[in-house]
């Protein structure tokens, strides 16, 4: 331990490794003196940096010291990379190495950014500790230290830690690192998959709601029949007047047939329930099958197709939806039959027929009431308007008394608006007749030049009827269709928006950068397509905290295993691509974008975190 600290004090601070060590010393001393636990601190630091400090055989500790002394960034990175994984993997490891590399502890002894509270780091510790902790600290505190021009080591740390933790296995890494890093990427992938499974609520909820509905309807059927039968029996036995045996026999046998009919219906209902239970189960199994790594691509394709089928069904393109479900073999995973129920109602609404919609509302009354839905009220309003349009005023009034009055308490204003139309139709004999004529036609544009009434009256009428004219429009039916679709989806536990829109929005936001809108955008980027660009316009840009570079030549990422090289003219390409080019051209490099030629030896390495 002493060897380590004493040795490092003298070396300059030209390279990362020794700089690190220097800072440890500086801090270690400071802390030790302030707390008085010198030996303890040194042990702590020893353990932090080198693992077990008490190895007499000079094994890991000595190699560790040598590595750190060498100042070779790759070596140190490899060392740092190896340690946190091991430390983190050991249960109960008290001082993961990663935690040791926090900037405040290693900042230069001079004025350093304020110490970040322990909790901030503890929060950042789970997962890949140092990364997040450092980034959160860096974002919190200004990195430019005016007096000393030394950043609080965080970019350097970022670099070392990034190399250690972020990068995939490096060629010159120690043997432990590749295996551990590979495990890291696959755990990250599994975590990502688990997260994406959490989004699949609709997949599981919809068949369940459907099942509940079937169960409910079967129950009601049984309840009705039972009550009828029991009442009939009770009545027959309770009645005081005498009845002939034949009458009673016929009555009883009719009850028997009724029960037989019930039996049949319950059997059928039971079969339907079983099918639905099977569907629920199949979906749960499908979600479980994502763990099977071979079929992951198929699973992902199935997911995309599911999303598309959901969109097609919501837009009422039933044939395409069926076609796609069959082609992609996802019939169990798609809710086609659920939407078929809606299809009937929607088509009737498009044909201006309100009856099926009202029947549907009656069937689902309790649940619609629970969600405080106004659908029924709006349907009734539309029926009222139709009556008014057909000039059947008395019928309209009776209708309103019967059906609209119960809703009056909660929806007074709207009701008043609608009922006003009726009021004015009554006065059609008077000079406002023409005005009303104009209002009853589907044209929104109602010029009042032909009216003979006094201007004030006309204005008054227009004022009152201004909004109401829209109620006569045929677009009102489309509005009803939309409302119905929304209620329908809500009842079945589906999202308000089609899944496609939700995911597409999220994806476009994640991919959107200012570079996507330039001409030089790579064609592989979805945002290079006109349609996607238009859709993404109102969405926010994504943000990055670290540089992510892609080579122009090979289209591969430029990271620590493929670092960027700079040509004399300032253009940057990846090492691998340039090496390949120089190999094929006797050591000469031609810049693909400007055409300038240079030698491979003239290239400079760039360090980008």
């Amino acid at each position: 331990m002493k060897l380590f600290f004493d040795g490092k004090r003298k070396s300059g601070t030209q390279n990362l490794g020794s700089f690190l060590a220097h800072q440890c010393v500086a801090f270690g001393e400071k802390k030790a003196s302030s707390q008085g636990g010198q030996a303890r601190e040194r042990r702590t630091w020893g353990r932090l940096l080198l693992g077990s400090p008490y190895e007499a055989d000079g094994g890991p500790r000595q190699t560790g010291v040598r590595t750190l002394q060498s100042g070779d960034p790759n070596g140190i990175a490899a060392y740092v990379r190896a340690r946190p994984m091991e430390e983190a993997a050991r249960p109960g490891a008290p001082y993961p190495l990663a935690r040791a590399l926090r900037p405040p502890f290693l900042a230069s002894a001079s004025r350093s950014p304020p110490m970040v509270s322990r909790c901030l780091f503890r929060r950042g510790i789970d997962g890949y500790p140092c990364d997040q902790a450092l980034r959160s600290s860096a974002s919190r505190f200004p990195c430019l230290d005016d007096d000393h021009h030394y950043l609080s080591i965080s970019p350097a740390m970022d670099m070392a830690v990034d190399m250690a933790i972020d990068a995939a296995p490096n060629g010159d890494a120690s043997a432990a690192a590749p295996a551990v890093a590979a495990a890291h990427t696959s755990t990250a992938r599994l975590a990502q998959i688990a997260e994406s499974l959490k989004l699949e609520h609709q997949l599981v909820r919809v068949p369940l709601e459907h099942l509940k509905k079937t169960i409910r309807s079967n129950y009601r059927l049984a309840e009705r029949e039972f009550t009828a039968v029991l009442n009939s029996v009770a009545e027959a036995s309770g009645s005081s007047d005498s009845r002939s045996m034949d009458e009673t026999l016929t009555r009883l046998s009719s009850l028997v047939t009724r029960l037989q009919g019930l039996k049949r219906k319950l059997e059928e209902g039971g079969k339907v329930e079983n099918v639905q239970v099977q569907r629920c189960r199949a979906r749960l199994e499908h979600l479980g099958s994502v763990a099977d790594a071979d079929k992951l691509d198929d699973w992902k394709d199935a997911r995309l197709n599911r999303i598309l089928v959901d969109y097609l069904l919501r837009m009422s393109y039933y044939d395409s939806a069926k076609n796609l479900a069959e082609t992609a073999d996802i019939q169990e995973l798609a809710d086609i039959d659920v939407f078929f129920e809606a299809k009937r109602v929607i088509e009737s609404l498009r044909n201006k027929d309100l009856a099926p919609a009202l029947v549907w509302c009656a069937e689902n009354k309790p649940r619609l009431k629970k969600s405080k839905s106004k659908l029924e009220f709006q349907l009734r309003l539309q029926e009222f308007i139709e009556l008014v349009r057909a000039n059947e005023h008395m019928k309209a009034i009776f209708y309103a008394r019967r059906y609209l009055a119960p809703w009056a308490a909660t929806n007074m204003k709207e009701m008043q608006r609608v009922v006003t139309t009726l009021a004015f139709r009554h006065n059609t004999e008077c000079s406002i007749y023409k005005v009303c004529q104009k209002f009853s036609s589907p044209h929104k544009d109602h010029s009042l030049d032909k009216v003979t009434a006094s201007g004030i009256e006309v204005d008054f009428v227009e004022f009152l009827l201004g909004d109401s004219s829209v109620l006569f429009e045929p677009t009102q039916w489309d509005y009803l269709v939309e409302q119905f679709k929304q209620e329908f989806c809500r009842l079945f536990g589906m999202t308000n928006e089609p899944l496609l829109n939700i995911y597409l929005q999220a994806g476009l936001t994640a991919l959107k950068t200012p570079l996507c809108y330039k001409e030089a955008c790579s064609k592989e980027d979805p945002l290079s397509q006109e349609g996607f660009r238009k859709l993404a316009e109102p969405l926010p840009f994504s943000k990055l905290h670290h540089s992510k570079l892609v080579c122009y030549i090979s289209k591969k990422p430029m990271d620590h295993e493929n670092p960027p090289l700079v040509l004399p003219n300032g253009h940057v390409y990846s090492t691998k691509a340039l090496e390949e080019m120089s190999r094929q051209n006797d050591g000469r490099i031609t810049c693909p974008r400007t055409g300038e030629v240079c030698n491979f030896t003239e290239l400079v390495k760039a360090f980008i975190s």
């Binding site: 430019l144 021009h149 670099m159 990502q192 688990a194 959490k198 989004l199 609520h201 599981v204 909820r205 169960i215 079967n218 129950y219 049984a222 039972f226 039968v229 036995s237 005498s242 045996m245 009673t248 046998s253 028997v256 029960l259 039996k263 209902g269 039971g270 749960l284 479980g288 992902k300 393109y317 395409s320 076609n323 308000n496 928006e497 829109n501 939700i502 597409l504 999220a506 994806g507 476009l508 994640a510 991919l511 950068t513 955008c521 790579s522 592989e524 980027d525 979805p526 349609g531 859709l535 994504s542 943000k543 992510k548 570079l549 892609v550 122009y552 700079v566 300032g570 400079v604 760039a606």
Partner: protein, 385 residues
């Protein structure tokens, strides 16, 4: 995500449902049985019109039915089932995110654009019938324009699958300039494969004439490959024993098909993978982060809808990196035309603004924040990624 818990809860639901269903049917049978018994009793009594007897039977029937009270049993069954269903619903709501549309911004997605995107996706996947059906249902006749190029592509791919390279070769020769510009040697590979095919199935003479016709004109460009092909001629008929046996492997066909598709798509100005699937995959990656962000910002709901840039990064994997984005480590901002990245002599890269700040407006040399090498503003060069 504990799928096991959910499956257990669901198993309970399914058991209860079966139980309830069978019990209900049993109840029905019981009632029926009682009534039939009553009927039989009535038919067996000799005194057909005796009222009290009749009444007695009916009263018995009523009492029996009330005894095992089918209504109450039905109710209890239904209640139990509802309780189990309710528990299952709770489990699902806990394990899954109940409302993923919370992070949805209220912007209108023009349905025409979305429909066009979907139609082109179908065509790109080769589902031409589905695409046509969709277009007719969605009433988007303009989208049909995307059909023809992909039809062509799939036609060529189909013929390649049947080991017929003619169409592919035609396409490659008609686009040879474009291919050469983009540094692709697709044409050469096609010729190679064709050569091997001819050698195997046909005579050496034909193979030789094929090479003479197609590869000789450009011989200088293919200095490495042509000798190999000539070497194959020596082993004609025994190619699998030659050192060139790997040319026979079927992977070449698949790889070539992939490469062909890639070149075809990029010639059209389209991406290799369907853009819709890329966008949706990115969305699936990024949605959990967005939902978390939304719930944190839920207090300031307005900001969520109107923000210009996300405050947190969404971590996408390498597959989604299409652009070089430089983020200055000091300012944590993206590089742009006004704030380009600059390379310092020590090899580290910072944005222009941070260099200017560090050097106190370009007056004196400053120390690099990473390594203590001094540099002045003039020594820094601008980088182009």
């Amino acid at each position: 995500m504990e799928l096991d818990l959910i499956q257990d809860a669901f198993d309970r639901v399914s058991k209860k449902q079966k139980l309830s269903s069978s019990k209900t049917q049993q109840l029905v049978r019981q009632i029926e049985h009682e009534i039939e018994q009553a009927i039989m009793k009535m038919q067996s009594t000799e005194n057909a019109t005796s009222c009290p007897e009749l009444k007695q039977i009916l009263a018995d029937l009523k009492n029996k039915l009330n005894e095992f009270s089918p209504m109450n049993q039905l109710e209890t069954l239904q209640k139990d089932l509802n309780i189990t269903l309710g528990k299952y619903v709770k489990v699902t709501e806990k394990s899954f995110n109940p409302d993923i549309s919370k992070a949805y911004r209220n912007v209108d997605f023009d349905p025409h654009i979305v429909n066009q995107i979907i139609a082109s996706h179908f065509y790109r996947q080769g589902l031409f019938d589905l695409g046509d059906c969709f277009i007719s249902e969605a009433n988007e006749p303009e989208a049909a324009a995307l059909k023809t190029p992909f039809l062509e592509m799939y036609g060529i791919l189909e013929s390649m699958r049947r080991r017929n390279l003619e169409l592919a070769l035609n396409w490659a020769s008609s686009h040879s300039e474009w291919l050469a510009q983009n540094g692709s040697n697709l044409e050469l590979k096609l010729h190679q494969l064709q050569f091997v095919e001819i050698l195997q199935n046909d005579s050496v003479q034909n193979a030789l004439s094929y090479v003479r016709k197609h590869l000789a004109p450009n011989a200088s460009a293919h200095k490495v490959e042509i000798p190999k092909l000539m070497g194959c001629l020596v082993w004609s008929g025994k190619l699998h024993k030659s050192p060139y046996a790997d040319l026979l492997s079927p992977n070449h066909w698949e790889k070539l098909a992939d490469e062909f598709m890639q070149q075809f798509c990029s010639c059209l100005g389209q991406s290799y993978q369907s853009p819709l699937s890329i966008a949706i995959a990115a969305g699936i990656h990024g949605l959990p982060t967005l939902l978390k962000l939304e719930s944190v910002m839920a207090v300031k709901k307005q900001e969520w809808q109107a923000m210009k840039q996300l405050p947190v990064p969404i971590d996408l994997s390498k597959d989604f990196q299409f652009h070089s984005i430089f983020v200055c480590p000091v300012l944590r901002e993206q590089g742009s035309d006004e704030n380009p990245p600059m390379l310092m002599p020590c090899g580290h890269v910072l944005s222009k603004q941070s260099i200017v700040k560090l050097s106190k407006s370009s007056t004196r040399p400053f120390k690099c924040p990473y390594c203590p090498l001094e540099a002045s503003v003039a020594q820094c060069r601008q980088l182009h990624f």
